[in-house]
């Protein structure tokens, strides 16, 4: 690596000495708080829930929350990558259902087929999304909105307008969804592994940094030689594949390719990612935050159920209010950082 051996400037002083070290330190501390904001809120909510609802504390309940959070977690993982590039993927909910139906159908040919088929089909939809977005510069919102319709149509076409529910025929595949290790379901372990890989990819590979750079400034990234299009295409493929996988795991757990699923899942995933501190405008965000976001939504739901007897309408009102409070809190933490 050549680093032009350069003449020392005449005055070897600091050119960028504009801020005191103290200011930098506060900056970093507040930055930490902000980045961990979702985690902090999650902890607070968990502590409150554990104090108020005795049932909440049980190992079984925790395991149930985690298993239920597994598919949303996979979807939100892909969504995190997409949103960091400054994009959005509305098609994940449909792809999730499609993935489940395809997996259940393909399970007649065994475990491998049941896993591969949804990944391939949803990967292909992701590829289509990515190519359209990266190469024709159509807005991600609208491309993936079309994909939402398309994937749902495809799912309905495959299941005679949704009326046929394919049952899972492979025991191995079924176990993947229903088995457990240390009393915690396999899906949770699988998700844990994928999340770890995701974290490494995002923070420790060139691809991950390209993702951040594109979201930070697409033009700059392209001028700096980042393969913008290729990276974008991959990000949408990943999102599709993860949504398909989430669908497959869900099908394995349920034992069938249920067709009446997935409405609104994309919005939940987006909410989780944003609560986790990722900017919808792209360029910044973490997977750890997303995990906290998904769990937060899961815990809120669990708390509402613990109350019991709550009319479904009130449940929605509370979810909405909670969402607003969490996001506003997040934003104020973020502002604190900018002003300091």
């Amino acid at each position: 690596m050549t680093q032009g051996v350069v003449a020392e400037p005449e005055v070897p002083g600091k050119i960028v000495a504009d801020e005191t070290r103290r200011a930098e330190r506060t900056d970093r501390i507040v930055g930490h708080v902000q980045r961990q904001g979702a985690l902090a809120v999650l902890l607070a909510v968990v502590i409150i829930a554990a104090a108020v609802f005795p049932n909440f504390r049980s190992y079984a309940n925790t395991a149930t929350i985690l298993v239920a959070a597994a598919p949303p977690m996979l979807i939100a993982l892909g969504m995190t990558f997409v949103i960091i590039t400054g994009g959005i993927d509305l098609s994940v909910g449909s792809q999730f259902v499609l993935g489940g139906v395809v997996a259940a159908y393909a399970s007649r040919w065994g475990l491998i087929a049941a896993l591969l088929a949804p990944l391939l089909i949803c990967g292909a939809i992701g590829l289509l999304n990515g190519v359209l977005i990266a190469h024709t510069r159509m807005a991600p919102f609208i491309v993936t909105l079309a994909a939402l319709l398309g994937a749902r149509g495809l799912m309905r076409a495959l299941s005679s307008e949704g009326s046929t529910t394919y049952l899972v025929r492979s025991d191995a595949f079924h176990r993947l969804g229903s088995g457990s290790f240390l009393r915690i379901g396999y899906p949770v372990w699988l998700v844990a592994v994928l999340v770890l890989i995701g974290i490494v990819v995002l923070s420790r590979t060139r691809f991950g940094h390209a993702v951040y750079a594109i979201g930070g400034s697409e033009d700059a990234a392209s001028l700096m030689g980042v393969a913008v299009r290729r990276t974008k295409v991959w990000v949408y493929v990943m999102s599709g594949v993860l949504a398909g996988l989430a669908g497959a795991i869900n099908a394995a757990k349920l034992g069938s390719g249920v067709t009446v699923l997935g409405t609104g899942m994309e919005l939940d995933a987006i909410a989780a990612v944003v609560i986790g501190g990722t900017l919808l405008t792209g360029g910044a965000g973490t997977i750890a935050g997303t995990i906290a976001g998904v769990l937060l939504l899961g815990v809120i739901q669990n708390m509402i159920n613990q109350v019991g007897n709550l009319n479904s309408s009130y449940q929605q009102v509370i979810s909405g209010a909670f969402l607003a409070v969490v996001v506003v809190a997040q934003t104020y933490l973020g502002k604190l950082r900018r002003v300091t």
Binding site: I88, L132, T136, R137, M138, A139, F141, I142, V143, L145, A146, A147, L148, L149, G150, R152, G153, L154, M155, R156, A157, E161, L267, I270, A271, V274, L279, L280, T281, N311, S312, S313, Y314, Q315, Q316, V317, I318, S319, G320, A321, L323, A324, V327, V328, T331, Y332, K335
Partner: protein
């Protein structure tokens, strides 16, 4: 004439078509679809059929108008469907005080939601999609709480007239939508508010430095959007002659956004095409109507819609020289 001149002229024509398509592609698509229907759909070319299509598209157009304004500021409003439900749920409660009273109350509800959305976006600084997501979830819940979760029949003749009456040979609903379209088009083109809205969508930082009341304009835009949605909500009640908080406006945010974008308004803000939005809504309505008339399965309808959205947006996309 030399062949060079010929190709030059063809080149210019292509360039012109290319510049023209994004703005008018959606109208071409409507014409094509209408032509198809005239030849292949029985009873398409009748007044009563056209009437039905206009009536059905009216609520989407009204919601899409507000959505177009919000999108013009580089925002998005997911809560419109919930606002419709909220407005709808209030109508039967206040119908006892007369139609006007009930309508006012439901418009007030829209105003309230708009204020919340606008404040979250403009003052708190939330990203629009998240700010409105909260009311998307909670708003419908609130509507259900208000209505006790029940569908209520509405038997008020004045209100029903709004939904199914005629005025000078056109449905009242269509008149209302048309008037709102004209007002919004006028506001965008001719008023200080409209120009400011576009500037904020184009570059918020510079609008702020130029001394524009950015927060006030943004709040006003979200309020307008919500109030338009509540108008759509109360018209929906008038039309189905019952108030059903669980069904009114379900998924309309996606239809509205689709109409706006298919109509050529970019999601990046700074531009609003009002007539394009109307055309976009009409196009999607015709697509669905065509599918229903030919008795096609929902799966087919959905896939065809997807393809049409993609084509429309592909044609209308911003082309940068490169």
């Amino acid at each position: 004439m030399s062949s060079e001149a010929l190709t030059a002229r063809a080149g210019i024509d292509m360039a012109r078509v290319r510049a023209w398509l994004p703005a008018y592609g959606v109208y071409v698509a409507i014409v094509l679809l209408v032509l198809y229907n005239i030849f292949f759909t029985p009873y398409f070319l009748t007044w009563s059929n056209l009437r039905i299509q206009l009536i059905q598209v009216a609520p989407i157009v009204i919601v899409a108008l507000g959505m177009a304004l919000v999108i013009g500021t580089e925002g998005i409003d997911l809560s419109v469907g919930s606002v419709m439900a909220l407005a709808a749920s209030l109508i039967p409660l206040y119908l006892g005080y007369g139609v006007v009273g009930a309508i006012l109350v439901s418009l007030l509800a829209g105003l309230g939601v708009g204020l919340v959305n606008g404040t979250l976006v403009a003052r708190v600084g939330l990203q629009p999609i998240v700010a409105t997501l909260a009311l998307f979830v909670g708003g419908r819940g609130l509507a259900l709480v208000i209505s006790g979760g029940q569908l209520k029949d509405v038997r008020n003749d004045n209100l029903i007239f709004l939904g199914s009456g005629d005025l000078f040979g056109l449905p009242v609903l269509v008149w209302i939508a048309a008037v709102l379209v004209l007002i919004v088009a006028f506001v965008v083109r001719r008023t200080v508010f409209g120009r400011r809205l576009l500037a904020i969508g184009g570059n918020r930082a510079s609008a702020e430095l130029a001394g524009l009341p950015v927060q006030r304009v943004l709040i006003a835009v979200y309020v307008t959007c919500s109030v338009l949605a509540s108008i759509a909500g109360l018209l929906a009640v008038a039309r189905i002659q019952s108030s059903d908080a669980s069904a009114v406006g379900l998924l309309i945010e996606l239809s509205a956004i689709t109409a706006v974008v298919v109509g050529g308004t970019p999601l990046t803000g700074g531009r609003v095409r009002v007539l394009g939005t109307v055309a976009g809504a009409l196009l999607m309505q015709l697509v669905v109507a065509t599918m229903i008339k030919h008795n096609l399965q929902p799966s087919t309808t959905e896939m065809v819609q997807a393809v049409i959205i993609l084509i429309a947006v592909y044609v209308a996309r911003e082309r940068k020289t490169r």
